[in-house]
Symmetry: none
Subunit: 417 residues, 2 copies
Amino acid sequence: VRAEIIAVGSELLTPEHADTNSLLITAGLNAAGFEVRLKSIVGDREADLAALVESALRRSRLVIICGGLGPTEDDVTRGAVARALGRSVSVSPPVLADLRAKFARRGSAMAAINERQAEVIEGAEVLDNAIGTAPGLWLEQDGVHFALLPGPPRELRPMLEEQVLPRVRELGLGRQLARKSFRVAGLTESEVDSRIAPIYRQYAEIQTTILAARGYIGIRLHQWLEAGSMAGAIEHLSARIREELGSAIFTTEDEAMEAVVGRLLRERGLTLAVAESCTAGMIGSSITRIPGSSDYFVGGILCYSNDVKRRLCSVPEELLRRPGAVSAEAAEALACGVRRRLGSDVGLSATGIAGPGGGSADKPVGLVYFGFADSSHSLHLRRVFGGDRQTVRERSTSTALTFLRQQLITGGGGNYK
Amino acid sequence: VRAEIIAVGSELLTPEHADTNSLLITAGLNAAGFEVRLKSIVGDREADLAALVESALRRSRLVIICGGLGPTEDDVTRGAVARALGRSVSVSPPVLADLRAKFARRGSAMAAINERQAEVIEGAEVLDNAIGTAPGLWLEQDGVHFALLPGPPRELRPMLEEQVLPRVRELGLGRQLARKSFRVAGLTESEVDSRIAPIYRQYAEIQTTILAARGYIGIRLHQWLEAGSMAGAIEHLSARIREELGSAIFTTEDEAMEAVVGRLLRERGLTLAVAESCTAGMIGSSITRIPGSSDYFVGGILCYSNDVKRRLCSVPEELLRRPGAVSAEAAEALACGVRRRLGSDVGLSATGIAGPGGGSADKPVGLVYFGFADSSHSLHLRRVFGGDRQTVRERSTSTALTFLRQQLITGGGGNYK
């Protein structure tokens, strides 16, 4: 069934900014049985958007419009949709009261300009925005449903998932998308493909996609099923892929690695401390993204300078001179040192050369050592990453977490390859 | 002058793939005096694309279509454009000969299916493809120009630059895009708008866009100038906005806040250490994104547990009992403590309740205190942020950097509002 997505915002028509909201929206619509047939990106001009909405009314069953719901004059979505559908717009007193309460809770006065965000199109349902100030709208005309959502992804995502998709699913279309997904760490995209291609090629009716994401390789299987038919083939393929890849698969629930590691620590009753040099906080901030991480995360030391490595993480002065701060010995000493200093069960460290400067023939940019320590032993992992400074740091962060997961699963014992 | 871009390909309508060719095309068109007013993304269905081309013919002066020129049946672009413009398509003998020669040079026989790529729309000029096999097309109807280009970026880029843009420039429009941009911190989007709207409304010929990005509010001015005219108005508006917003503008060069703060530390010869509780590494990782940050960033302590706050950052036990770890006193004590412990000139701290749990009536989720300390004094900032856990942490990180910048500019002295 035909759906289309319209992204609104002049910044999305510049060479610097691409629309990405539509990827998230597409995933949700597909899962609800809608096929996205067209995406449009338009600037902050009311007439341009109104013309698109008029065309959408003739060709689609579901139209998701994101962006242009802010308080300023260049936020034209409410006006353009109302104009295209021949409806009026007026300030809704309950929405306005909610908006004022939101500002009051933050301890700031609401500017007069924000009143525009309380405007509601005649006949529309209001979709509450728990994160920002712009409420969304849901309306229907001539059998076509429209959802208007704010542009910032952190506002759009929960509103889509909690308010729009349930309404979309109620439209009741029958076809279903059967999906399975896996996340793999510690293997490259082509390693994953060469291992599973001989399997998935036997299932022509299932679309298999392998993609390299930040910190992991994702595998997605999907298949459109008519109402009442069974997802037998996808279950079968899924079981064979799990058998082939084994513990390289760290989740089948789209969990982030930091959530998986957190679960392992909690199950084992262990606490963690980190010593971060080149990542300088990225490992700690990743682990603490998970609510309740204070149950197992004690804290850490950002040992950016050698002086901090020595004084706070107890890395011996002579070790920092040779083999140096970027070495297997330093990584293990940092993991042991932070564990003792912070009194945790487990210590994890990363020390390396993120670049662009600081590399040498035997210690090139991209060289990173990781250390792990618990009460009985310590060990390390060496990696050389390609890419720019931030890429090296991101890969270091996900490798550190993968390394920690591996140690927690195996209980350590021998350096991890 | 109105241009539009149409990207063709069913993979661009999946949750995994976004169109990125249009960014490159937009940069080229803008430089040639064309404004991109609409982008559309459509799948491999001839009727869907033909309908878009018909609309484009009514509304635009220049239409760039990329993708769908391959050899397979799902490559529908030639057929769809011909149908929309009422023209015929036929195999061109010289293009076919070229294609055969290309395959011969690679030492492979041309499959019969590739003959489709020698099809040319009646009246079109052929654009040579030096990298791949699909030639492009350039044609004009009723004063509207169309360029058809292959989808793979490494084929599209040289064809755009060497063959399409020179033709576009020959259309002789002469217009130029004048641009200015600012980034503002410490004010909300509506505060920025209410302060500058009375100014920018006096410049109807300049388009002003205000958008809330992560960690800052962006202001962009742009104006299309006719050949030979001066950018006087945009310079004038820009000067007035700078005067109005003063030091709330932290860059006019699209610099990130962490780069601005790094520059200030370097200029003043100061070193920095951080104590992070709720942000748990986000401030440190942000600062060290900048190459060379080891010149001024010493390191930090992730004081997630109270025990680490007490033992490593010297926050007194009784202070942690009352007023507690989330308080003005604790924030200042953390900044002083980390500064002393790590031996830096300046200390910066953040301690708060990121949620979703842990809030209370007098200390709600979103409450965060920031501390600053140097050799002569310490001070704090209190904020209550809306949003989910990660949003509170991101806002805390950008607020911490904004607070630090403010102290570095003013040299401290009194709590910052």
